[in-house]
Symmetry: C2
Subunit: 366 residues, 2 copies
């Protein structure tokens, strides 16, 4: 698959496109195609494989049993955005899940991770989650990142190759180079499902997102399981996005929540019901308040850059990414404590359109 | 529009189809087409106009202001299913919104309404809502119908003609023939919005669905407004349908709920939040319990017929209507207190499929 990528064929079929935003041009796979994951990027001399989708289980015991014959490594799933980090043509770059070089994450790499490891193994691709209140993509963040952003390595791949390094090979490099990484909980088997449930209850109580499981020794088979609170918190943080997200974004999470309660042998409680209802209503009523005061609904983002030019590149990137629907508006770009602090807004065009119409007395046929 | 309906053209475009289930064959409009509403049915010698969609307002004051210049008649909106009742070829028939002769409602017409009015005016079409716990379509029903079903007239049309009779002409006939009808609250103007809000608060407290407004004198312009509790109750009664209904069924109702709270100047309360969360979780956890006990999720229906043959026709009708997705299963058909009582189940194929897969340990890529 990787040696003779049929770029012309993929572009012909609309599965790949040229990208010119980065320090050099490359081809990005916009969809999965013939075994090549979406987000794969191809240069003249190498390929950064896309990060493949990980299937979700909704029933822990039977899901682990179906998926794993022997042991599996268990790691925390962090609520952030996925990047692949590698050196290309001498540039250390952070590439998003979709296959774009991210001007924000790339700019901040020196703050987030020591890449000495890449001197030894220049063909390594580090897969990491970036999370925190000052991130430009997610509207929520994990409770243990209280300012700016942090980076958590959880996988390694090699340029021009598919598949992941085995978990223990990743762990060994994380230790040796003191890389920031996701929490690792060690090796379990299906017989340990009671301990895994207890671990999930603890993560749930701490409002953490969930677990990823990878087979021992290869790490090629993997699956994920998300906590109840992560489902509620996803709804809370995206309620004002109710008209932009595919509506089954919400119904899927409610269904997962019900299955999670059953899985964990929990009764539904009035407290959980109230939090689920509040997740929708709080977010929407805040959006309505904002609309009444400012005649539009938007979300404010703030993020810090080392270089002023990176902040400008990032705005260009966001606008290019979102097309007409992006509604990105710069608010401020100032120097502060050695960083360039960018503040910008992202509007919600569908919700703004609907509110504009119905609050002026428009009718809906639905 | 009505005199020279282009049935061949409509059928050609897939907007109309032949129906052979009724006492006589007819053509049904499966979609709105060139001013003909969906659900219109055409016989050789006449046409039963479809019941047009009524636009919903989400902001009471501005919505009424936009819609009505002078007075408007205000009626209760009842949570049931819409039928048009008329005499065709000597048969008194009840026709569903979609344009099918309903074997259940048609069978029960003598119990539900005295059609003497049609002796005087044989071209009248009575538009009514049928509601109650023993109805075969809706999974919820209004609190004031505690057994079987009842019928509530709210509009009148004429065979072969578009448009409605003016509200006062309808009210006069309802009085004269003592027809069962929806509650009428009289004539208001936009200046009365405070009184209308108070009325809606009362309807909401009584768990009634909402109001329909029709311009005075013609009744041609109309709109509707639904209570907060109706939104929650819709979600509660259809939660197990979460994978079959379009997912924006749910997000629309949540958005209406938030707008309704703002409209009515209500704060969101923990009690309402809890009821919204419970609406989803109760229904889904009941479905999961049912799946664990019986290996499938279904809803039980019971309805009474005067004639045994009507019950059999009704089952044939439901199966024809639902195609392969219907999963209708007869449970019982017995004589009881002078009626034939039909009990049947309707399965939820999408939810059953998903639960079958994930509870056996399947993974989802979502």
């Amino acid at each position: 698959v990787w040696e003779n990528l049929d770029l012309a064929g993929a572009k012909d079929k609309g599965k790949a496109e040229d990208v010119s935003l980065a320090p050099f041009p490359y081809v990005r796979f916009t969809d999965a195609w013939k075994g090549v994951p979406r987000g794969t990027i191809a240069l003249a001399d190498t390929v950064v494989p896309g990060y493949p989708r990980i299937g979700r289980i909704l029933a822990l015991q039977s899901g682990l049993h179906e998926r794993f014959e022997g042991g599996f490594w268990t790691e925390e799933k962090v609520d952030g955005y996925n990047v692949r980090i590698c050196r290309l043509h001498g540039h250390a770059l952070a590439i998003t899940r979709g296959g774009f070089v991210c001007p924000f994450t790339t700019d901040r790499l020196p703050d987030l991770i020591d890449l000495t490891l890449l001197d030894d193994e220049p063909d390594l691709v580090l897969c990491a989650e970036v999370a925190g209140p000052d991130n430009p993509y997610n509207e929520s963040c994990p409770p243990f990142v209280t300012e700016d952003v942090r980076l958590f390595v959880f996988d390694m791949m090699r340029l021009g190759q598919g598949g992941f390094l085995p978990p223990q090979a990743v762990y060994e490099r994380i230790e040796r180079f003191a890389l920031p990484s996701v929490q690792r909980f060690g090796r379990y088997t299906v017989a340990d499902v009671g301990r895994i449930r207890a671990l999930l209850r603890k993560l749930n109580a701490e409002h953490r997102e969930g677990l990823v499981f990878k087979d021992d020794p290869k790490g090629a088979r993997r699956t994920k399981y998300v906590t109840s609170n992560a489902n509620v918190s996803d709804i809370r943080s995206t309620a004002e996005n109710i008209l932009e997200l595919p509506p089954n974004y919400f119904t899927n999470r409610i269904l997962r929540l019900a299955l999670g309660l059953q899985e964990q042998g929990l009764e539904r409680s009035r407290e959980l019901e109230q939090r689920l209802g509040a997740a929708f209503l709080e977010g929407l009523l805040e959006a309505l308040d904002q609309y009444n005061t400012e005649q539009r609904v938007y979300h404010s983002y703030r993020c810090r850059f080392r270089q002023r030019q990176s902040a400008l590149d990032f705005l260009t990137f966001l606008q290019a990414l979102g097309g007409n629907r992006a509604k990105i508006e710069q608010r401020d770009l100032r120097q502060e404590s050695g960083y360039w602090v960018l503040e910008y807004l992202r509007g919600y065009p569908a919700l703004n359109g609907l509110l504009g119409s119905v609050l002026r007395g428009g009718v809906l046929y639905d």
